[in-house]
């Protein structure tokens, strides 16, 4: 969308001339590039616990960030006041990074790309609160009905509608409307022997409430309750190296930690990633092709344009086991002389953009998922994870299994207690020997943190077999 379709421009009376003036001020002391990121974010959160809807809140965050790039330097300032004098002041502060003659803004500003990957005709934030409250109440009832051992349920519904407007000194102005919805359910179960366990589930995306027709609150509630109840019988997890089978969907967090972060271009242009300078190298087995795709309709990690106004894309990171490319933002792509990939993202107008993932997944292979499990004499089958982390320099990464089962003689036997899996990014995927034909994306709950900024992301994976991985159990 362009300026004329922009909610922000019409609500706050921002004209093309205004944008040109602010950008001109940002480049008044030189610099190669400047941009403005206007953001209007309305959010609401409803939470239930003890079967009581205890809290509901809503609010609006509004502001503009001004960025100036001079060589490899970035100057940044923001304002939560959209009055012209406040924006001009922020532009002058950001301009301090440069020292030279004023640069010219390309005018007139032209509209950026137009598409709509997430039309959500009625934004979730525009629906009646009573409809949204109903979702957490239904989740509570369903989790408690699932099994009498469930003794405590928490359900949280959150939505937001973000309007952004990005104007650049290279002469483009792009607007976007970004809805987001998310329901999460946590259930606690108590076994006959007093053992306690927790289960967690949730889902959503860049969708309206219609999402919960196909995926009702009962589905997520049942899933949270099921996990808690299953874990009541869990035995100790094995410790040390073993064969690991990952189930489809959310276990794709493996790719996010093992390779995704290490392929973000800022680390690679600085040479601080274990993947630096390794384009063209074999970093995974030939059955592995990893893609980051910001263009999948309605997904949590998708964007029409990234937070620098560049269109998102489907980017192949690893193809047949060979490293093909990095995730770029504007600054890194310019320094590395590579094309932008639409991965410049930021948490809000208070933050500057950096290369981030969107939806990251492994393409489907040819193996039958059941055959993959049957092929393992002894190992671990992991289907749910609680999160992960990576040290991009050494390449070491972890992800914590919250639901997994022992594989004995090709059959799933007992559930095991929570255990962390650890590996090394450029090494781990070399041990992937089978890839299933059942690619699945996660339900839409992922949050990725980097240098203090959180952004929504998606992951996905088919069932895969990893011949060797270290499991952090106790037995």
């Amino acid at each position: 969308m362009g300026l004329s379709q922009s909610f922000l421009a019409s609500k706050f009376n921002i004209s093309g001339r205004d944008l040109e003036r602010y950008l001109g001020e940002a480049l008044s002391r030189g610099g190669d590039y400047a941009d403005l990121y206007f953001e209007h974010l309305s959010t609401s959160v409803i939470s239930l616990d003890d079967s009581i809807v205890k809290s509901a809140s809503q609010g609006v965050a509004l502001g503009v960030g001004v960025r100036v790039i001079a060589g490899e330097r970035t100057g940044y300032a923001y304002s939560d006041d959209l009055a012209p004098e406040a924006i001009l002041k922020a532009a002058r502060v950001a301009a301090c990074i440069a020292a030279g003659p004023a640069q010219i803004v390309k005018t007139p500003l032209e509209d950026g790309p137009r598409r709509d990957l997430y039309p959500a005709p009625v934004a979730p934030t525009e629906r009646a609160f009573t409809e949204r409250v109903e979702l957490v109440r239904r989740a509570d009832l369903a989790a408690r009905r699932y099994d009498p051992r469930v003794y405590q349920v928490q359900a949280t519904y959150a939505d937001s509608l973000r309007h952004v407007l990005v104007a650049t000194s290279e002469g483009s102005v792009t607007a976007d409307r970004q809805p987001m919805t998310r329901l999460s359910v946590s259930a606690l179960a108590r076994g006959a022997d007093g053992t306690l366990q927790r289960g967690y589930s949730g889902g959503g995306g860049r969708v309206g409430l219609e999402f919960f027709i196909a995926k009702p609150p009962e589905y997520f509630a049942g899933e949270a309750a099921r996990q808690a109840v299953v874990q009541l019988d869990a035995v100790e997890a094995p410790a040390g190296e073993t064969t690991v089978v990952l189930g489809p969907g959310w276990p794709g967090i493996l790719l996010h930690e093992a390779v995704g972060h290490g392929l973000e271009a800022d680390f690679n242009r600085k040479g601080t990633s274990a993947f630096s300078g390794r384009i063209g190298d074999r970093v995974a087995s030939p059955v592995c092709t990893v893609v980051d795709d910001g263009t999948i309709p309605n997904r949590r990690g998708s964007l029409n344009v990234d937070d620098e106004g560049a269109p998102t894309a489907r980017n192949v990171l690893i193809e047949g086991g060979v490293l093909r490319g990095y995730l770029q933002d504007r600054l890194s792509s310019r320094i590395m002389k590579a094309a932008q990939t639409g991965n410049g993202r930021r948490e809000s107008y208070q933050h500057f953009p950096m290369p981030r993932m969107t939806n990251t997944f492994l393409l489907a292979g040819e193996s039958d998922p059941e055959e993959i499990v049957r092929s393992v004499p002894r190992g671990l089958y992991c289907v749910n994870f609680a999160g992960g982390q990576v040290d991009i320099t050494s390449g070491n990464f972890v992800f914590s299994a919250s639901e997994s089962y022992l594989i004995e003689d090709g059959r799933l036997t007992r559930p095991v207690r929570n255990a962390t899996l650890i590996g090394n990014g450029p090494e781990a995927l070399r041990y992937v020997s089978m890839v299933g034909n059942d690619l699945k994306l996660d339900e839409g709950i992922g949050i990725c943190g980097k240098e203090g900024q959180s952004v929504p992301v998606g992951v996905g994976i088919p069932t895969i077999r990893i011949d060797r991985m270290t499991v952090g159990g106790t037995s």
Partner: protein, 450 residues
């Protein structure tokens, strides 16, 4: 805005809410200026400077709560805020325990708590950049194997926090903060490792010298070079202060009032029981001058205080706000914490493990075969069950000495047993943020490796 006008605005928000039909109201205002300068490979990489403010309002309509927030502090913005919060109080449900603190519980610590230093805001940007440059340079110049860097940053923040409620409480305080940190990379052959070091303080005088921060970071990165994976085995595990702090984070989650009333903690219902080794005493103290966990009052207007959580291994207290205290039939411990939206949560003040009498070196010297953990990765701690499994990096201990670096391993156990198995506590307690722990020795854990 001046502190007086912010206080007036907060009181006015409460008044408007009451006039519009609320039976109780709480208003929070925050205002702050941030500055950040990053230097990388001796050149300025980024500069950021900005100010922002926000208002949050929580109302009760009888036993129903609603809340709203905004960055628009104009009269129209505030009117909308009040309407939004009341609109939401109509859709939540009656909660018998909802409410403000008892009037006699409200108050603020008197005197100067040393939370604000003028020098942070006064120092010119050029000098801040220079300090970041000196910090990184000290790391880069320390050893030829320090070949790269993720840079060094000087960050600072100065702000005000204002809180008022319909019981007549109104309070404000000012805080400042500055920090220096750097992340050098060490390289030797194929081995590439990074580590970091930092210093943070309320004022510039509290910061460690930049050169010292840089050299410490460099030493930490260098000692990781050539790390290997060890065999899977059960051994004593020593947590250095930086990783011992993470155990304190786990204890905090386990004594958190919400986890207690939901029975979602392995410490729920254990008051008065011996839950840890006799060597362990854990204290939360929100009154220590100048520290990061100190405030004159909590986010419900209750004075901060000192609470002994675990004393010689016995669980003495949970950390509570008004709501969780009512649920449990107890009194608030002055640990309410909140953002601008939602019901009050729980935070800690200065949370620390009381120091022991053993120098860290003597603890290491006492171990024949064990693991000294310098970094933990991931989120593999389950507070409901106490199950503990995290990625770890560190140094292997052989015959009482730090022998060789280790990485890509896990350490696993269960917090219920780990707390009982704390055999030694170091004398090296220092505050670097709002939590602090000395070196800790846990008798035995499973190290998962080859």
């Amino acid at each position: 805005m001046s502190q007086d006008s912010l206080l007036e605005l907060a009181c006015d928000m409460v008044k408007q809410a009451m006039a519009a039909g609320a039976t109780a109201a709480e208003a929070t205002l925050t205002e702050g200026d941030e500055f950040s300068a990053t230097v990388r490979m001796r050149e300025i990489e980024s500069l950021k400077e900005a100010g922002s403010r926000g208002a949050g309002l929580r109302v009760l309509a009888g036993k129903r709560a609603g809340s709203a927030f905004t960055s628009d502090l104009s009269p129209e913005g505030i009117r909308q805020l009040v309407a939004s919060a009341l609109q939401l109080a109509a859709i939540t449900m009656e909660d018998p325990h909802a409410g403000l603190p008892e009037p006699e519980e409200l108050g603020a610590l008197a005197g100067d708590l040393g939370l604000y230093c003028e020098d942070v805001a006064e120092l010119e940007a050029a000098r801040k950049i220079e300090m970041a440059r000196e910090t990184e340079a000290a790391a880069l110049d320390f050893d030829p194997r320090i070949t790269n860097s993720e840079g060094a940053s000087f960050d600072s923040h100065a702000g005000r926090h204002i809180f008022a409620n319909s019981l007549g409480f109104a309070g404000a305080y000012r805080t400042s903060y500055c920090s220096l940190h750097t992340i050098p990379l060490a390289r030797d052959g194929d081995s590439m490792e990074r580590d970091y070091w930092f210093s943070m303080a309320r004022g510039l005088g509290g910061l460690e010298p930049p050169a010292e921060i840089g050299r410490t970071a460099a030493r930490r990165a260098l000692r990781r070079l050539g790390a290997v994976k060890v065999e899977t085995q059960r051994v004593p595990v020593v947590f250095e202060p930086r990783t011992a702090r993470s155990l304190l984070d786990n204890i905090f989650e386990a004594v958190h009032g919400e986890a207690i009333y939901r029975q979602a903690s392995f410490l729920a219902g254990k008051l008065g029981e011996k839950v840890a080794s006799e060597a362990l005493t854990v204290i939360d103290d929100g009154t220590l001058p100048g520290l990061f966990g100190t405030t004159p009052f909590d986010d419900e207007g209750v004075p901060s205080r000192r609470t002994v959580i675990i004393e010689n291994g016995v669980l003495k207290s949970y950390l509570l706000n008004t709501y969780t205290a009512r649920k449990l039939g107890m009194r608030t411990t002055g640990n309410a914490s909140r953002g601008l939206a939602g019901n009050p949560g729980i935070g800690h003040g200065n949370l620390y493990i009381q120091k022991g009498d053993r120098p860290a070196g003597s603890i290491i010297a006492s171990i024949r075969n064990g693991f000294y953990v310098t970094e933990l990765l991931g989120f593999g701690v389950n507070i409901v069950t106490g199950d503990y499994s995290r990625g770890a990096t560190g140094i292997w201990i052989r015959n009482g000495e730090l022998a060789f670096p280790v990485s890509e391993v896990t350490i696993a156990g269960n917090l219920i047993e780990m707390l009982q198995a704390i055999e030694a506590i170091g004398s090296d307690l220092e505050f670097r943020g709002a939590t602090a722990a000395p070196t800790l020795l846990v008798r035995e854990m499973t190290v998962g490796g080859k």
